[in-house]
Amino acid sequence: MNVKMVELSDESLVEVAKKGNVDAFTELARRYQEKVYYTIFGFTKNHTDADDLAQETFMFAYKALKGFKQKSSFYTWIYRIAVNLALNHLKKMKREKGREELRENLSLLEDSCASSFSPERHPLKRELQDRLEKAIDSLPLPYKSAISLVALQGMTHGQAAQVLGCSENTVSWRMHKARKMLQAQLKPYFKEVKNEL
């Protein structure tokens, strides 16, 4: 790793990268690749697609870098590209269905990454998580985007608004409506889990 690049701010790295310095851009990518990946994963629920789209996000950003005027932070800009690519992907492809596929992809990952699954859960809690995933997935895209960025990625309303290209107030209302919808769908399962545990 180029020590000098690590010391530079995002703004400086962008300026250096604009001149064609690949090392500068890969340092920027290194800083945000995990967040970009997990943001996209929140939409695709599929490791292969998330990996591809994350790579595509950075490739797209690199090619478009000359036009990036740094009016927003690099972080916001790259997130916006990632979210747009993920949304376009969802619109194009039929959704990968089911947690079975997720498990399959994850078990393939285990071989290559020596990672481990989260510990066994109570079966009813597991069902609740299945339901929650399906419920989030069934939300209309504007609500799903908001939930993914704010609740799952931990962005503020302001940050999410910049990424999604809408007002902070809109993000705030989308979060409220999304939670109402999720709560309505999941109410029966809360009662079951409460009774069992």
Partner: protein, 161 residues
């Protein structure tokens, strides 16, 4: 050439105009936004309960996704038709097949709307179903009004420019 074939020819040419991927994506984006607005307004107009919302939303979204897919297939069929019409060697039977496919897809699109309305029938009260009828008139008229307003905005922008 029949009126229908002329009409389809026009449609195919219109799709030629829209064939750049970006234009198609724009069209889909507008459709999705209209779909979102319709769902939101419907929820409010019909005064859906939370339980009804939890049932209706996933079905509505699934049906809208299916319709987008059908629209895409219509787009492909129109592209094929355009290619056939441009090719002097193409046969009448092939063109007729494409026209038949297009009509079937168009019926499939309408069938999706029927599917949703049938679903509503079994999940709404009588009063809500009546409200749905009234809501539909108002919503579609509202779309027309928005389009007129957008036209006025464009005209004003051109004048001011």
């Amino acid at each position: 050439m029949t009126r229908l074939a002329l009409g389809l020819l026009s449609l195919s040419i219109l799709f030629l105009l829209a064939s750049p991927v970006r234009a198609l994506q724009n069209r889909e984006r507008v459709r999705e936004n209209i779909s979102t607005l319709r769902l939101l307004r419907m929820t409010q107009a019909l005064d859906l309960t939370e339980e009804q919302t939890a049932k209706v939303y996933p079905v509505y979204n699934r049906i809208e996704k299916d319709k987008i897919e059908i629209q895409r297939r219509i787009g492909s069929e129109l592209d094929e038709l355009r290619t056939l019409l441009n090719d002097e060697a193409s046969k009448g039977a092939e063109i007729e097949t494409r026209i038949k496919n297009l009509m079937e897809l168009r019926n499939a699109l309408k069938a999706k709307d029927d599917e949703f309305e049938k679903f509503l029938e079994s999940n709404l009260t009588l009063v809500q179903r009546a409200k749905y009828v009234l809501f539909s008139i108002d919503f579609y008229r509202g779309l027309g009004e928005k389009l007129n307003r957008a036209r006025m905005i464009r005209e004003r922008a051109k004048r001011d420019f």
